[in-house]
């Protein structure tokens, strides 16, 4: 039997990060360690601070206290100690962000191909033929019809827009991807196919992912490890199956037991 590699290098680390909008609103003194190639799920109810935490980790909001450290190939980078230029370059080149609403992550005014090519162009790709080939390749990978490369995202359905957003994010093969409810707002059958596709891509590309979701089924399918949040604090962490099959904390037990089964 192949044993899992338990000694993988750390990629992203949060050391006691806090960002409070009011007492119990936001997140407080959170420690996280994300290893390379790992999918970490953050679950919790609405208002538990999951999205705030994601914004802190993704360099979009400065924490009141604590550090977010990214282990790049050049060494440790304290996300909020480096300049804004570096931080934005990191987000552009090495990281990716998948928004809950694809309309936030896409440029709706330009074609699907331009959307996929944008990050490549930002990295300096200046060959139209190659940009187009990459666009078609990635549309195929996310199960979109490559012949629709010149269509505007507006003409795509919600599920297709979400696929397009994923293609646009992954085209530069980022080290680390942040996903905020990637299947929110989609119907169940579309969700299932999207999850299936995401799982394949994550495995193929060896992505490290921080996934925020309120949907435990999504967490079960994608995440290796889970963090349960409530009122801005982490109440339980552990392997996904362990947490979902044998929840220890009262709140996690409530969360797991309230999943509807048809």
């Amino acid at each position: 039997m192949k044993r899992p590699d338990l000694d993988r290098a750390t990629l992203l680390e949060a050391r006691g990060v806090s960002r409070l909008y009011g007492p119990g609103k936001g997140c407080e003194a959170i420690d996280i360690r994300l290893h390379r190639g790992e999918v970490l799920g953050i679950v919790g109810e609405s208002g538990s601070g999951k999205s705030t935490l994601l914004r802190l980790l993704a360099g979009m909001e400065r924490p009141d206290a604590g550090q977010v450290v990214y282990h790049s190939h050049e060494g440790e980078l304290d996300l909020y100690a480096i300049g804004e230029a570096r931080r934005r370059a990191l987000l552009r080149m090495e990281w990716g962000l998948v928004h809950q609403n694809p309309r936030d992550g896409l440029r709706l005014g330009v074609s699907a191909g331009a959307n996929i090519g944008e990050r490549l162009m930002a990295l300096g790709e200046r060959h139209y033929g190659q940009l187009r080939a990459a666009g078609q390749d990635w549309m195929g990978r996310v199960e979109l019809d490559p012949r629709r490369i010149d269509d505007a995202p507006k003409t795509f359905s919600g599920g297709m827009q979400q696929r397009l957003q994923i293609a646009r994010t992954l085209v530069t093969r980022p080290n680390l991807v942040f996903m905020d409810e990637p299947t929110g707002g989609l119907d169940v059958s579309v969700q299932a196919r999207l999850l299936d596709m995401l799982r394949t891509l994550v495995r193929e590309l060896g992505l490290s992912v921080i996934l925020v979701t309120h949907d435990l089924a999504v967490a079960r399918l994608l995440a290796h490890r889970l963090m349960v949040m409530r009122r801005g604090q982490v109440v339980e962490t552990g392997l996904t199956d362990q947490i979902l099959d044998d929840p220890q904390h009262a709140y996690t037990q409530l969360l797991v037991s309230s999943v509807l089964t048809p």
Binding site: S111, A114, M121, Y128, D150
Partner: protein
């Protein structure tokens, strides 16, 4: 010049007061020091609506000297409304000599063209600019575009060109074609046709750009590298015409299409009237 100027008494020389001119000149110095960078300035009300060249006029007023010879063109022509009225304005409030000959002018204020005759060192070309921000069409926030300039995040400029090729098979942007100045700032060369873009590169004259409504000015100093953005497999190209100019027969100029009757009759003539005229005089 003092207020006792015989022309149009009651106005300071060249309409603007000296403090305003001083402020604009300081902005211009900064603009020249950082080629392509948009410098904000305190725009003044000019006796003309926005969109008619108030930005260019304020720059002209600030740099104009008593002995300078002024030329004003609009779409290359010296005899269109905009050109005629701005020229008359400066004749009245500054009493300067004006000309239509490109070679004789010290200061040329222009809308939408660079003269065909190559400019020489010491000449000033002043552009009237409607929207100075090349990133505006893709990013509506001014705060964001400034940050993008500061961090050189120019990937989105190519998104527009990509979209052109995807839709039309070639880069269909024909005017206000974005350029990179001195390898650093992406700049909108005002709505000149892309035919004129190569003239920006290593030009001997100092080129100043003024946007009155947006209150921004920027500059391309003499002998500065200016590259038009493009793709490796879709290089930058300028417009070409099948016919020569119907008046002077030039084949290497920017031509305007002129409708001559209501039965589809048309002809192509040089948009630079001074150049066209000097060529016809040479031939005659």
């Amino acid at each position: 010049m003092t207020a006792s100027d015989p022309t149009a008494s009651g106005y300071n020389f060249a309409y603007l007061d000296e403090q305003t001119k001083r402020m604009i000149r300081r902005g211009l110095l900064k603009a020249v020091a950082i080629p392509g960078y948009q410098v904000p300035f305190g725009g003044r009300e000019m006796p003309m609506p926005y969109g008619w060249g108030t930005g260019g006029m304020q720059l002209t007023a600030s740099v104009l000297g008593q002995d300078d010879v002024l030329k004003v063109i609009d779409q290359g022509a010296d005899d269109t409304t905009n050109a005629v009225s701005i020229r008359a304005f400066f004749e009245r409030v500054a009493g300067v000599t004006t000309t239509t000959a490109t070679g004789e002018a010290d200061v040329i204020q222009t809308r939408h063209r660079i003269p065909e005759q190559p400019l020489r060192q010491g000449q000033l070309l002043i552009f009237q600019v409607p929207i100075p921000e090349p990133l505006r069409f893709i990013e509506p926030s001014e705060e964001e575009t400034r940050l993008m300039h500061a961090l050189e995040e120019y990937g989105v400029m190519h998104v527009k060109l990509y979209e052109d090729i995807a839709r039309h098979g070639h880069i269909a942007t024909t005017y206000a074609y974005p350029v990179k100045v001195d390898g650093r700032y992406v700049t909108d060369p005002s709505p000149i046709p892309k035919f004129d873009n190569p003239k920006l590169h290593m030009n001997e004259a100092l080129m100043l750009f003024g946007a009155g409504r947006e209150k921004r000015l920027y500059a391309i100093p003499p002998y500065t590298r200016v590259e038009s953005l493009d793709f490796e497999d879709h290089p930058f190209e300028v417009q070409e015409w099948d016919d020569p100019c119907a008046i002077c027969g030039a084949r290497d100029t920017f031509l305007d299409e002129v409708i001559t009757d209501d039965r589809g009759g048309r002809m192509f003539v040089c948009s630079d009237t001074d150049y066209c005229q000097s060529r016809t005089e040479e031939v005659a």
